[in-house]
Subunit: 118 residues, 2 copies
């Protein structure tokens, strides 16, 4: 971290792009909450997630699920019942987000302490 050369700046920009890639996938008000809901229960249905997350509307849940599926973080499994049952699960790729979610959780706890105490 001592050498602030042009090369260093290039590396920094490359890192930034990667971080932005992650944020592009995780952006929005509910994405992490949706992932967490599915992650905690392993398998979760639309109406379940709707009740897990306080305040989310079906419109937004639908939208977030689509984006997560597009980014291959979750899998949408349609069972041919009457009426249809839809189960959402994390993909392997989605599972790799657990570390980040856990870190966000731990950091959030510490942050709350800092802000309330300080």
């Amino acid at each position: 971290m001592e050498c602030k050369t042009e090369n260093f700046k290039q590396e920094y920009k490359k890192e930034m792009r990667a971080v932005q890639d992650s944020m592009d996938v995780l952006h929005g008000k509910w994405k992490i909450a949706v992932l967490s809901s599915i992650c905690y229960y392993n398998k979760r249905r639309f109406s379940d997630i709707l009740s897990d997350i306080d305040g989310i509307s079906n419109r937004m849940l639908s939208k977030e699920l689509k984006e997560l599926e597009f980014n291959k973080l979750i899998h949408r499994n349609v069972l041919s019942t009457q009426p249809v049952t839809v189960e959402y699960t994390l993909t392997e790729h989605g599972n790799t987000l657990k570390t980040i979610i856990n870190n966000l959780h731990e950091w959030g706890v510490e942050h709350r302490k800092k802000i309330v105490e300080g």
Copy 2:
């Protein structure tokens, strides 16, 4: 993870709130980029950060810096030069975000591979 009791659901909601706390602090298009810029260079000035981050406007940089300072992630140090020099540094608390930023970086790299390849 096997016991989906009411207690389990309470725990889950508590975790969600902590994760949301983190996201509330990190939300917005530029917050992580700003933190990273300061983090990489240890000490960084307004115009420096402006040139570090492609596309950010001075209005947004100003806004993001204020929010980060409000949340005690960065420190604003004014030197009485002519004209004034302002240096931004990470607080100790801000430094604890390094883990998350690194994780986002690593995950972003992997994600890009997955999406481009798949």
